[in-house]
Amino acid sequence: MGRFVVRRLLQIIPIFFGVTFLVYFLVSALGSPLDTLSPQQKRNPAYLEYLTEQFNLNDPFIVQYFKYIGNVFTGDLGTTFAGESVTEIVITRMPVTATLAGTALVIELVLGIVIGVVAARRRGKLFDNASLVIALIFIAIPVFVLAFVLQWLFGIKLGWVVPTGISEGWPLSYIVPAFVLAAGSLAYVIRITRQSLLETLNTDFIRTARAKGLPAGTILRRYGLRNSLIPVVVFLGLDIGALMTGAVVTEGIFNVPGIGQQLFTSIKQQEAVVIVGIVTLFVIIFQLLNLLVDVISAALDPRIRYE
């Protein structure tokens, strides 16, 4: 296992270079960041020179990339045009996004598994079909539409929560945006739980458990769920990545000062350094999460032995 972890960590290296190179290349293909300056900003040659220096704009692309990556390894993700450190932006904003994504994950996990289990136990019945349709509606509604509607409903019409921002802290300020964030994935968790549980309940060892005279509840928990949770865990692990990117839209609409909101702003402003910095970070986190998923899967399923 230890070896496996080390190997996986090492595997992240080429992926890290691949993704950062890809993003850096694409962002560079947009043109020099100086092009996005307004003519009035360009009136200041000293400032232009400073920026050119700062972002190594006179170097060939590949040199720029490696200089940038070199800095990344020292923990410096670059600076914005205004001189703000991207690392610092990330550090201050990440906990907010983590809280939001974490809350969303809990919603997914609890609602998803509970509904999934009930749906599996009542396969083909009304609850099963209804939960499927409702869950899928949440996938089908564009996330921003859902966000607007819920914000309007709970924040303005009913006034249960502050419509935006995180001024009320966790959980009140996080619950609605987290639900919006979780809504899309919820259906998947329900479906995977249901599917996987149905498969498990059809296996021979469940029959053995019945032959052993175990109570139905014990069979479901100890035999059914534990075996069916593995694909759910795998999905959730990958989903954290999706939650963090999903936060781009959600944090924007709910004015949650997280990393997604920063990205939202940076996208609007085409601030390449920030975009690359955040993507780099996301990629690393995503890869580490994948690793974590593998480790958890191995813990849940002793048959999985890495290396």
């Binding site: 996938i139 089908a140 564009p142 059809n202 990545g241 999706a242 990117t245 781009v248």
Partner: protein, 303 residues
């Protein structure tokens, strides 16, 4: 599968009437109201996409022929406009009907693109394994590691492709990895099956084994996934439009309509709700179809 099922099935297998997986699935689907709902919806949507003229008049969607008068801006649903008018004074209903083609095209083309690319590469990687597999799987991880919105933003801003092709390109590039993984896994599974061994024993060449033996057995799930993704891609286009990156005017799509409708959401909700409704129903129809079919096709769940 329990012995009990084996017994029941092998008893059936002896009879000439035993069914194919597809027939089994069809039997199950036939009795599933959710399936029928999705089929009816998809037929309706297809009709709208193919013959929008049957449902609405194109004239109501353009100012060249008298539609879209600013004085009708945000007219509520009523006699003049069945489902209201948007800010430009265009008939929301007609516009939604005429937007269907773009939205569905994006979904369809992307679904086809991802399935083709993903399947082909997945087949190659799974079949040959070794280095080519490592490289392709590595590339896949890179694409899977690239957050979707981000990737789309960067791709769409740096690649200059006209109208829907840009969106299709970006969505395809960011989504083929799913089909790749699926087909690769299925390929590895099929490759280990005895019928593949038998084909090799007959002297079949790699291409024959891949396309005649493995692909037909490996492609099934990815086609089901493609149906589901078709819906998801239609929604993704809307999200990109919301972020100002999707289809650009003068082309229109449900996503573009929704994006533009935000302005008046609270006073003229129909401008947003009508295209959002069309979108949601369409996405839902494809997802439901995919889900019910995949459920019916899954032999592991069969009782």
């Amino acid at each position: 599968m329990s012995d009990l099922q084996v017994e029941a099935q092998s008893a059936q297998a002896a009879g000439p009437e035993s069914r194919t997986v597809a027939a089994d699935a069809w039997y199950q689907l036939r009795r599933n109201w959710v399936f029928w709902v999705s089929v009816v919806l998809i037929v309706g949507i297809s009709a709208i996409v193919l013959f929008p003229g049957l449902f609405a008049s194109e004239e109501a969607t353009t100012s060249l022929t008298g539609g879209c008068q600013l004085e009708d801006s945000l007219e509520a649903p009523g006699d003049k406009f069945l489902l209201g008018a948007d800010q430009q004074g265009c008939d929301v209903y007609s516009l939604s009907i005429y937007s269907a083609r773009t939205s569905v095209s994006v979904g369809l083309l992307t679904a086809i693109g991802t399935t083709l690319i993903g399947s082909l590469l997945g087949l190659l990687a799974g079949f040959y394994g070794g280095k080519s597999d490592s490289v392709l799987s590595g590339v896949t991880s890179i694409f899977l590691g690239l957050p979707f919105v981000l990737g789309a933003v960067v791709l769409l801003s740096s690649v200059d492709l006209p109208d829907i092709w840009g969106v299709v390109f970006a969505l395809t590039l960011l989504s083929w990895a799913t089909a790749f993984r699926l087909v690769r896994a299925k390929t590895i599974e099929a490759k280990g099956q005895d019928y593949t061994l038998a084909a090799r024993a007959l002297g079949a060449k790699d291409l024959r084994i891949m396309f005649r033996h493995i692909l037909p057995n490996a492609i099934g799930p990815s086609i089901v996934v493609a149906v589901i993704s078709l819906g998801i891609f239609i929604g993704a286009e809307a999200t990109l439009s919301y972020l100002g990156l999707g289809i650009q005017p003068p082309n229109t799509s449900w996503g573009v309509m929704i994006s533009e409708a935000q302005n008046a959401f609270f006073t003229a909700p129909w401008v947003l709700m009508v295209p959002a409704g069309f979108l949601t129903v369409t996405v839902l129809a494809f997802i439901l179809l995919g889900e019910t079919v995949s459920d019916a096709l899954d032999p592991k769940l069969r009782k």
